[in-house]
Amino acid sequence: MVNPNIQGKRYPRSAAYLVGREKIREFARATFASEESIDLAAAKAAGHSDLVAPPTFPIVLQEFGLKLVIADPEAGLDFSRVVHGEQKFVFQRPIVAGDLLTSELSVASVKSLGGNHMVVFDTEIFDENQVLVCTAISTLVVRGEDA
């Protein structure tokens, strides 16, 4: 299951992640984005400095934080019993190629519900000036031993 005492715990800031233009294209194509959405000229014409990452791209950064939780003996999170319940991204501004990002995950809540645990993780993503760019909010359902 998961240790309810990790509610409120903050995990260390990630290493810097440089958002690459071709990584954006690779992720966009894997999520069936149209070619127009990864056209550099179109992005610049829309006023962006470079290609804009698809809206679900921050999941790549959220993943770094979750790895810390999985490796944390205090959390006791059994990942084989985890189901992704909900996911949300809130943008302060779009992520563009060339951004140097860091992320920091905290445990917003741990709740017990019918033998399962619901854990909400907030991942804040900052640019190199330490300005918040995006928050990724993930709810994981950890199935109980009998579920």
Binding site: S37, A43, P54, P55, T56, E63, Q87
Partner: protein, 138 residues
């Protein structure tokens, strides 16, 4: 760029079908870094009691917003996007799973020039995402 004054609540602004096969899942695993084998190995999926190899929930979430991005013409206009994962998408070893996405205007904030668009993502006659909502800047 759509004009907010011309939008009406309930209007369908975009609709698209997506064909997922096993190659799609492997490509998404590589791009996202999510290499959970339940998304590409039948034996592993069966061993944990799943009905088959499943598409990554995040792949379904990721493709579901593409029709809205195309409609906007700029993914930088997305302010917020959230979903609830309600049903799995089973992807067969041969052939493909067809996912249908319909995007409708659900709420308009004329002052802030923001709109909420609700997405209906279905597979095999069932909605696979719940509370799938996007806020966009117009």
């Amino acid at each position: 760029m759509p004009e907010i004054s011309e939008l009406v609540i309930g209007d369908v602004v975009a609709e698209k079908n997506f064909n997922l096969d096993r190659d799609s899942l492997v490509r998404y695993a590589g791009a996202s870094g999510d290499f959970n084998p339940i998304h590409y190995r039948d034996d592993v999926a069966a061993s944990v009691g799943l009905p088959g190899v499943l598409a990554h929930g995040m792949l379904t979430m990721g493709l579901s917003i593409d029709p809205v991005v195309s409609w906007l013409g700029d993914s930088g206009k997305i302010l917020e996007y959230g979903v609830r994962f309600t049903k799995p998408v089973v992807v067969p070893a041969k052939g493909r799973a067809v996912i249908t996405v319909v995007a409708r205007i659900a709420e308009l904030d004329l002052e802030a020039k923001k709109a909420r668009i609700d997405l209906q993502t279905s597979f095999d006659g069932n909605n696979v995402l719940g509370k799938s909502q996007v806020w966009v800047q117009l």
